[in-house]
Amino acid sequence: MRTVIGSAALALALAPAFAQQSPFAEYQRMATESAPVELFELMGEEAWKKKQGPKNVSLEQCDLGQGPGVLKGAYAALPRYFQDTDRVMDLETRLLHCMTTLQGRSREEATKRVFGNADNPSEMEVLSAYISGHSHGMPLRPGTSHPKERAAYQLGQKLFFHRAGPWDFSCASCHGEEGKRIRMSELPVLYKPQHTRPLIATWPAYRVSTSQFKTLQWRMNDCYRQMRMPEPIFTSDATVALITFMTVTAEGVPYRGPAIKR
């Protein structure tokens, strides 16, 4: 486990530089100092090793792309193409695949409660915390060479700019221009590498404002909710494409999560 003291000291040392960037940086820094993220990682380890489903096995033999059961660096190499399913998958999509195949659970049962709340995080959320923690410090290298990986990136890019719905919103309506805010929230431009890197490097994350641990699939879902659109289906190609688009845009950034956010 990482030393909280070390990162706090680093944050303090960098504080003047951040303060110059944004009046909210100081708040962001203070909010991230007491980190309950490790608690979610521990819960995730339990969920990873828990025998369940019709086959009564754990997820420990789940292949996240680096071989069965290999956690180290797995998150940093996602999303990527998987030959056994012939599709590009992000972490949550792959976990769901392992739940339905390894454990023999139905998709319906495994996705009954994918987004938790402050009192009770979901299995998917704690697993995401546990697995992403094994990529801490590693550069993000999502798949970019397989034709389906390139197609996912391109679809994600098109979706990002696609305006639709009763309020004519696309992702770019909020995340398309520099130096903008919604209320007091600063908005990263999520198709520019310099803005996307620090964001993608810190998901999944514990959100101080809601006291919840949240994943990228949740983030896609909640953006479309606020865009007044219908609901993206959990782990659908559209959600994976958007996550692929943003992760490839952020490619190479050292992974700093699972992190704390506003």
Binding site: I182, Y191, M229
Partner: protein, 210 residues
């Protein structure tokens, strides 16, 4: 705006000739077949929830135009669409300045049209999400221009009232690819609510104009 578009045009044409996919950090321009493909993906990968029904993924002519031109359409195609949107605004007769106090509440509320909102509940305009309006509200967004002192500098003669009402009812009547939702056109806000927002911006008694 027009100038920049004009200068960028030859560059865009050259790029389109050698590649269809924009590189990282660039804004994508969609082709008609892109729009069809993305709409098909939305139909396959999204589902109706609450009041957010699947008909919401269908594009109207304004959305089509803006998607095809990366929000920067040539004036000769944008103008007829803006005119059609303007023509469809049902302007009420008489004064348009409603109750600014109620307008402030509507401007504050971000409720409405989401799958998590109860259908039939009074919807808000989410105005403060993007605009500075009353000096009393410091938690304002900056996607749209500041509206502080709006009526103080412009007055509130009938043409101004009409412009503000129309802009809130359907922002695309004045700027085809404005980022602002068409709050009347989308049936988010009703006539009285829009009048109350006009009051918030134009009533000399409104805190906006103090």
């Amino acid at each position: 705006m027009t100038m920049r578009r004009f200068l960028l045009l030859p560059v865009a044409v050259t790029l389109a000739a050698c590649t269809t996919a924009p590189s990282i950090g660039e804004r994508a321009k969609a082709t008609p077949s892109d729009l069809e493909a993305v709409t098909a993906v939305l139909k396959r990968d999204f589902r109706a929830r609450g009041q957010a029904t699947m008909d919401r993924v269908e594009l109207d002519p304004v959305q089509r135009l803006c998607n095809l031109h990366a929000d920067n359409p040539p004036a000769d195609v944008a103008r007829p669409l803006e005119e059609a949107q303007l023509k469809a605004i049902p302007f009420p007769t008489g004064g348009l300045i409603g109750d600014w106090k109620n307008g402030e509440k509507i401007a504050q509320s971000g409720r409405g049209a989401m799958w998590s909102d109860k259908p039939g509940v009074q919807q808000g305009g989410s105005c403060y999400n993007c605009h500075q309006i009353s000096p009393k509200e410091t938690a304002f967004g900056t996607i749209g221009p500041s509206l502080a002192g709006y009526g103080k500098t412009r007055g509130n003669r009938p043409e101004i009232q009409r412009y503000v009402y129309g802009k809130i009812y359907n922002s695309k009547a004045y700027n085809a690819c404005s980022q602002m939702p068409r709050l009347g056109h989308s049936k988010t806000l009703n006539e009285q609510q829009i009048k109350d927002l006009v009051g918030l911006l134009l009533d000399p008694a409104s805190p906006v104009n103090q």
